[in-house]
């Protein structure tokens, strides 16, 4: 009976084109989690004492916590002792590499294959990339070009070494290690990620992006991204992620913290395409992410745009704390689930300042036997005069074995607030599909067209290069979902 399995594998491989593994020498520490492991990670990164303390406090707090169960997800028990918390694919057999020339060319090839060339002369114009594989940043492009404007864009580890004061000031200032179970875990064991600082009055001239890749087996990826936009600055930041197809599950627990000062604007876009597991629900990434931005400054603005197509389980609520007067928070999301994928995703908009406003547009698309939930909180504090929120959350069902759910929470403590919530659930319309068929367009392409039309409002918010990728991804993710 090996035949059908081979077929199924081939079919899913076709659909998930990032499922390859890279064969490089990777230094992986022993599985398991304890204070010695945390000390080991910290020493490998040559961290200062205060950061090790931060990690240990987080770890000790994590030990007191239990896995949260409120999400509409069936999460198999995770054995945290069966995971390795640090994998370094850049390490040569003689130790850490000193420059990019010493990095295994296989590694650079991997990013080429993923469409992310790391040689600056070949790179996409206008996009600077920090490429992270497993626990280590491989390369950050255009660093010196950006530095000329005073912009700091580097790996988190480098930021700790080169800009310790900035890191110390902002690390954990938006998402404390006490925030939740996975935030505590991340704070204890986080490895790499990106650091961005945009100085006062600077509009970042290129898109900044981080590309996350999990390669090594039985490891978790725990990255941390910190973005600080000082007064009157602007930056658009992109995040992409993929992982090889493996039969076992991989854990990914990240934190993104964003600080937005007076009149600054940050756009944060994600195309999340972690391996979703195969069509029978085997394998896939468990994606538990805490993303939050603090609109501290007056007239500041933060936009989250996400296209979520990957991961076996997604648990993610990019949020905005709107404490600056007239600050603006936005959340645009498309979440697609197929086969046995589960997603519980949404946002929190916390209005604290006066005249703050927020917009939430969420489009869920479910197929196969998947479960897709929107969970969103709109809170208006008692001093938040004239707060406004508009929420629209739509669900589209393909077939009748999938589930779509909406869990809105509205918590208002100021009578001047105006909060609107609209929600719809619809099934993909057979008349629309037939109309496409009659014009010569087959079933899968028709679904791709219709779904992209449905998600257009969100896709349009993405930067151009990402939008094109995202459109393709939406169609591919739903292949084999109908018929």
């Amino acid at each position: 009976m090996t035949e059908p399995n081979k077929y199924v594998k081939k079919f899913t491989e076709k659909k998930y084109k990032y499922g390859f593994t890279t064969d490089v020498h990777t230094e992986i520490i022993d599985k398991g989690l304890n204070e010695d492991v945390i000390r080991l990670i910290s020493s490998k990164k040559e961290e200062p004492e205060w950061l090790l303390d931060f990690r240990l406090k987080a770890y000790r707090h994590w030990l007191t916590l239990k896995m949260p169960t409120w999400a509409h997800l069936r999460i198999p028990e995770i054995d945290y002792q069966a995971i390795s918390y640090y994998a370094d694919p850049t390490a040569t057999k003689e130790g850490a590499p000193k420059s990019l020339d010493e990095v295994d060319p296989e590694l650079l090839n991997t990013f080429n294959k993923l469409g992310i060339p790391l040689e600056e002369q070949m790179a996409l114009s206008g996009i600077a990339v920090d490429a992270v594989m497993d626990s280590v940043s491989v390369k950050t492009t255009f660093k010196s070009t950006l530095m000329e404007k005073g912009i700091i864009f580097c790996s988190f580890s480098e930021a700790v070494r080169e800009h310790p004061d900035l890191v110390k000031e902002y690390l954990g200032s938006v998402v404390t290690y006490r925030d939740n179970y996975f935030a505590a875990l991340n704070s204890a064991v986080f490895s790499d990620g990106s650091f961005v600082y945009i100085p006062k009055g600077v509009k970042c001239p290129m898109e900044l992006s981080t590309y996350f890749r999990i390669n090594a087996a039985n490891t978790g990826q725990f990255e941390r991204t910190l973005i600080v936009a000082d007064d009157d600055s602007y930056v658009s930041y992109l995040e992409g992620c993929t992982a090889p197809m493996r039969d076992e599950n991989q854990l990914h627990a990240a934190i993104v913290e964003i600080v937005v000062n007076d009149r600054a604007e940050v756009k944060y876009s994600t195309v999340q395409n972690w391996f979703p597991g195969d069509s029978e629900g085997k394998g896939g990434v468990y994606n538990f992410v805490t993303k939050r931005g603090h609109c501290k400054g007056v007239d500041s603005k933060l936009s989250w745009t996400q296209v979520e197509t990957g991961s076996a389980i997604t648990w993610k609520y990019p949020s905005c704390i709107l404490s600056g007067d007239r600050s603006v928070g936005e959340f645009y999301s498309v979440a697609v689930t197929n086969h046995f994928q589960q997603a519980d995703t949404g946002t929190k908009m916390i209005h604290l300042g006066k005249d703050t406003s927020s917009t939430i547009i969420s489009k869920g698309i479910s197929a196969g036997k998947s479960e897709n939930s929107y969970r969103g909180l709109v809170r208006v504090g008692k001093n938040a005069e004239n707060a406004r929120n508009y929420t629209e959350c739509d669900s589209l069902l393909l077939g009748d074995t999938c589930g779509a759910h909406t869990f809105p929470y509205i918590d208002i403590h100021n009578e001047s607030a105006v909060v609107e919530h609209e929600a719809t659930t619809s099934k993909i319309n057979e008349d629309q599909i037939f109309y496409c068929n009659q014009r010569g367009i087959d079933m899968e392409s028709a679904i791709g067209l219709i779904v992209n039309g449905y998600a257009k409002e969100v896709i349009n918010k993405l930067p151009m290069e990402f939008a094109v990728e995202a459109q393709k991804l939406l169609s591919i993710s739903l292949e084999g979902s109908v018929g």
Binding site: N429, E430, D431, Q432, F434, Y435, C436, N437, Q438, R439, G440, I441, D442, M443, S445, L449, I450, N452, G453, Y454, A455, K456, E457
Partner: protein, 249 residues
């Protein structure tokens, strides 16, 4: 071109077509008329492979091939076009993207390269002027917010884009005022050649003042009960359908 033999079809177990025989040669326009519920729209749905209908019996060949074995999209690529009675709206999908997907699928089927963006836009412009369609409409999402007349004109525009061998116009005149009717009919007439054929399904004779059929068939109770030249349409206009029913009963 099209040969229908003893075709029987049903929906939800209810028999609608009870043995249709019809032959259409290239260059011909056939009008199919009949009272409501006689099976006119069922016939067009079955020809384009609408999955809601069940073919119980009979054969249909198109250009020598077994039509009933083909998927709906293949029938389209083989050259059958249906102008829908009720065109659906597809929000968020621009007419440009929709038509480009369709045209390129047709080209791929014929072993041709897809059109470049500029070739495609040129084709759009050309065909749009043929059916006097507003530039604004092709910039919008498929049929979204179109008036009844605009939707029908959009159907004829798509027909022009896909250049079918056989076009089926299902109640294209319903819901059109006289000016819109004239524009739509003009479009159909401009697209007419000695190589392609049409089936014009209509309840009223009115449309046939503008699109001149070679043959008129009367469908009643799932069968073609009378076939003749264009004069039959005028006779129906004058006498109504009751006398047909009497012949039947």
């Amino acid at each position: 071109m099209l040969e229908i033999k003893n075709l029987e079809a049903s929906i939800d177990g209810k028999k609608i077509l009870k043995g249709i025989n019809l032959t259409i040669n290239k260059g011909e326009i056939h009008a199919i008329m009949g009272p409501n519920g006689s099976g006119k729209s069922t016939l067009s749905s079955v020809l384009v492979g609408n999955p809601s209908f069940e073919v119980d019996k009979g054969e249909v060949s198109f250009m020598g091939k077994n039509l009933l074995e083909m998927e709906p999209e293949v029938r389209s690529r083989e050259g059958i076009f249906l102008s829908f009675q009720y065109p659906v709206e597809i929000p968020g999908v621009s007419m440009v993207n929709f038509m480009r997907a369709a045209v390129n699928e047709h080209r791929k089927y014929r072993g041709e390269e897809p059109l470049t963006a500029s070739e495609f836009l040129k084709l759009m412009r050309e065909k749009r002027s043929l059916v006097e369609m507003d530039n604004k409409l092709t910039g919008r999402s498929v049929n979204e917010g179109f008036s009844g007349g605009e939707k029908k004109r959009n159907e004829i525009f798509q027909m022009a884009m896909l250049d079918p061998k056989l076009s089926i116009l299902d109640e294209t005149d319903s819901g059109l005022d006289i000016d819109a009717l004239r524009v739509v009919a003009d479009g159909v007439n401009k697209l007419r050649t000695s190589e392609n054929s049409s089936i014009v399904i209509t309840h009223y004779q009115r449309l046939l003042n503008y699109i001149k059929p070679d043959f008129v068939h009367v469908l009643y109770n799932g069968r073609i009960v009378k076939s003749a030249g264009p004069e039959l349409a005028l006779e129906l206009e004058e006498k109504g359908y009751d006398w047909i029913k009497e012949i039947e009963e």
